[in-house]
Symmetry: C2
Subunit: 695 residues, 2 copies
Amino acid sequence: MGKCINHPDRETPYICLKHNIYLCEECLKCQDVDLYCKFRPSCPIYFIAEKGFDAPKEKQAPQEEYLITFEPEGKEISVTRGTNLMEAAHKADVYINASCNGKGACGKCKLIIESGEVESLPTSLLSENEKEKGYVLACQSSVKENIVARIPEETIEKKLKSAGMGDAATKKLAGLVDTIEPIVGKIPLQLNKPTMDDTVSDLDRLKRSLKESGCNISTMSTNIRVMRQLTESVRDDHWKVMTSVLWKKCSSEIVNVTPFHAAKPSLGMAIDLGTTSIVVYIVNMEDGKILSAASGHNGQASCGDDVINRIVCSEKDGVKKLKRLAVATINNLSQRALESIDADYHQVENLVISGNTTMTHLLLGIEAKYIRREPYIPTVSEFPIIKAGEIGLKAAYYGGVFVMPGPASYVGGDIVSGVLYTGFHKLDQTTLFIDIGTNGEIVLGNNEFLITAACSAGPAFEGGGIRCGMRAEEGAIEKITLDPDTFEPHYETVEEYKARGICGSGMIDLLSEMLLKGVISQDGKFAIETDHPRLTIFNEEPAFILAATEDTDTEEDIVFTQSDIRSLILSKAAVYAGFTILLEQVGMDFSSISQMIITGGFGQYLNIEKAITIGMLPDIEREKFNYMGNSSVAGAYMALLSKEYRQEAVTISNTMTYLDFSSNNAFMDAFVRAQFLPHTDEDLFPSVHADNKLR
Amino acid sequence: MGKCINHPDRETPYICLKHNIYLCEECLKCQDVDLYCKFRPSCPIYFIAEKGFDAPKEKQAPQEEYLITFEPEGKEISVTRGTNLMEAAHKADVYINASCNGKGACGKCKLIIESGEVESLPTSLLSENEKEKGYVLACQSSVKENIVARIPEETIEKKLKSAGMGDAATKKLAGLVDTIEPIVGKIPLQLNKPTMDDTVSDLDRLKRSLKESGCNISTMSTNIRVMRQLTESVRDDHWKVMTSVLWKKCSSEIVNVTPFHAAKPSLGMAIDLGTTSIVVYIVNMEDGKILSAASGHNGQASCGDDVINRIVCSEKDGVKKLKRLAVATINNLSQRALESIDADYHQVENLVISGNTTMTHLLLGIEAKYIRREPYIPTVSEFPIIKAGEIGLKAAYYGGVFVMPGPASYVGGDIVSGVLYTGFHKLDQTTLFIDIGTNGEIVLGNNEFLITAACSAGPAFEGGGIRCGMRAEEGAIEKITLDPDTFEPHYETVEEYKARGICGSGMIDLLSEMLLKGVISQDGKFAIETDHPRLTIFNEEPAFILAATEDTDTEEDIVFTQSDIRSLILSKAAVYAGFTILLEQVGMDFSSISQMIITGGFGQYLNIEKAITIGMLPDIEREKFNYMGNSSVAGAYMALLSKEYRQEAVTISNTMTYLDFSSNNAFMDAFVRAQFLPHTDEDLFPSVHADNKLR
């Protein structure tokens, strides 16, 4: 506990572990945390409760138990009086959206109390309308009698728009790998039947055949499982077998031997393990064809939206919980993908996992706590080949798992995948690469150097910390134009659903339109009269009405508040400052860049022109921009099929120089200078200022 | 089922799988099986029931359950009517001696029925006296009401005399290994504390230190367990750690990392995994000192005395059962040995197992069924390094287990151990080596060749198939002289207990004395009057009375029957024929031998002179005989400490040429010629015939 930096009379458990600053709950919840901890965008620590934080409880008899029923699933759980509703949902395995991991800061964990009563802390994150309908925030409410709570329809996760899926993706990837060299390869063998003159053991007989087929058996071993199966396997189909060999760096292991008639085609799995969503490709290991794919939300989302919250959760509830959630998600997705092609998970003998450093650590059950503590040390950068069975993935138990190596705590294997796929590390000319998401990893380089950094962009682009923000799910407003006179919005939603909120690309559209049409000024403040019909007051601050109650699925106005604008400006400023500092570091500027690669799911829907208008992307020739889709899964696919690419991934990771922005003063300056629309330095954005487009 | 070769009118399930001969139960039980299957001594198959064999059961209500109480332990089990008493004992985890694995042929599984009644098949293996006292054979009896059964005191296993234990052994082994190079080595490391300028991952930091300490980290990997512990381990003692590295053939693996302050001295375990008994040495891996030892009966004994019966049992009840029994025995012994030095099993990081091919297969849970089927193929000859945890041995879970390689199904790792320890494979002159036991493995060779064979000596030397035979346990008659006039025996027993039976060395003494004193003639038949006071009739055949009822612990005469003599002659003939054929194979004779090494527990008590007298050992200069104790555990000890010796063991195994006697006509001839005392060819035993000693 410490004293709030703004209210010295208040004791608070919330601390920024990096800057050692305490904030009281009210300050934290006002969503302007940045004003108090100005380093936040570059601070991977954020604010966390020193020792949890429970809603105050009344003294009560300890043993009173109440029944909570969660609708629409109807799951029931019995808990003691005073139990937090969010915790109860976790225990009952009911998924509740919880971007901030229960801090009461995001307002996403809404529940409608249909019967019974709960005790709730006051919150500004629910509208009067919502409160009237019985809405509460799960993390701010505790149980005091039997209740029935319904998860509101509008908060139930919808199908996520995923990048890099489908036939188009398959076509793009085809031809990337010439020679298929899997992690676990299959070798058919016809052994000689033993006789009294040839009595070598079954294993030696197998090795002799492997040698004849060209294998180096001097570095080859095997394991106890194989030895236990071997007797029957070699005899079952007249000494004809299919052998699976796991190729390691400088040795190999016979990992499976089956009678030839029982052998099935070998499959591979390329996995993009994102913080938000997970994508799985099922690949035919013979010809490299992508047979099916599936994607879905990372089940860890109930432990927070970003990696820091996930780590905090792993420290509180144990790494195993996070591991279990991620493994379950992957297993569900792969099952779906495998069922669609009538395949069996035992056929999956090769797996590549591409994810950021925190995600790979948590998936493997490796402690991640020092990732968020200075000097930010991951436990492992380059992973040994692991067997699928060792981490609980549904695949052949001996399936070889290659985990994409990651150079630093905040630049992980997903970025290495991206470089591998986009291939700019082999070019003479210099490329600027960005994977836009919560963390905004940037890589600058060519065939001589690679420099990388993470500019904590914050969760705004994925809808986090934005009043009506959401991911690019069904009903998200993704494209907006404003009528130049009335400022009336014309928008499109994902899958043309009734509007439910606004996603990242929609926000950038909106900010750009508001700037160009004069709704806001370059400092982001509203520039029109406060009584303008498109403006309203929300939580004591002005807000732009994007869609009125009657046009929305939520039966609430969809608004974009002054704070939302501020959050978005901070995020875009962090990205732009990141570009600036990486270039400065190697003595370059934007003119040195021959291409700018954008990857990541979010990038797909990004309007480049509008992103330049708000000063998020640099004002360079438009033809230099190149959106390359989900490069994380594409790189994983390449590594799945090719030994050369797996080695190249390790080389890329080792080549990358990581720059830490969190204690970088030049970054701080660049960040502050970029908190303007498009930028405090007009010369950097000539095309935006051309023709007096701004006012 | 097939027709008995002697009684074509009888259908029988008992078949010799090698010779495809059926025998009925009566023929099998008459113990003269050899008369029917003359190849038996060289036939590793013996007779087995094609598909089990249960005592005929009456029709009965299926659900009747009866309570069996086994005394003196008081263990109880509830079984249905008709359950075989041996099976009931197995289920209740009550140990009953069962040399023949329940065929009703050995007569060892005696029980005294103290209350209740059982249904028993008639047997000649119990004396009238025993039957009066309520003795039954467990495997021939079935339950028909509640019973209390007592395991007779005299059949409860006594402490086994074990070779190669104690201070003498330690002294003999000391100095054999100059440079200790364990399988899993320990390396203490002081890592650099990470800073913002040195942010490599924990694992890379560890590897950097390992490299500085001289390790080749390019071929080094690790595993998921280590990665999961690593974060805490490196930080717990100020970045000072103890690292355990498993060295494999061409790679290595970091298998454990502990905070330095928590590190304990590393221990090793050398295990002699015998069919009959198991010996465990606990070794200090720093200086090679043997800290403690323990030995005991192999718990698999309840599944039969010899490897064939063990395999038959594994086919019937599953390999897992045999595996479990052996693992349990080793764990009990090692626990006892570790407790005596106040050590913890987690300290055991190195293990070497030396055993015959069947024993190692069964311990590892590897199918052994083709070991006993022509062309006698083991599943594995050279084993990869296994981790102790993978096979359930109580040791550090990552403890590296080296299993001594074995060149053939009937010459295993214990013999390779023996060669390694006795070292004759490095000498110019030629050595004849024998490990005497049930199987009698012989090796002939020098630094240019090694040729080996197994002459199935049969279980006689270990007391099997001998009316009053027993192992060298307390109360076993081990030394005998006969009064030249009265033939009255003067004998010594193991540990000077009251006589309970006769062990292998006692039998050889007895046979030699009977021959020299004229009790029997050279063909093994009794040569004295049938009414001589030392003779009696037992089961319709003459028998020599070694100890009368009043002098024995069993309150029964200890006799040596005509059949016993026959069994012993067959066993000794098999051994001598084995020597002969191996020598012939390389164009040598006994005069070419510069030393004759005898190893194995039994060899320790063998009177060389008397063994020559009966024609078991060749009549060569007595100073050429060299008893070298338990060479199996000694070789395991050497391999435990030295990488060079582990490699040498593999080389020895690969160098050995295996000769199969089972289809060797020359062996058959030599075997028949040796079935005389000492031999049909007098010239081979000049010293026995000198001075007209015989008659």
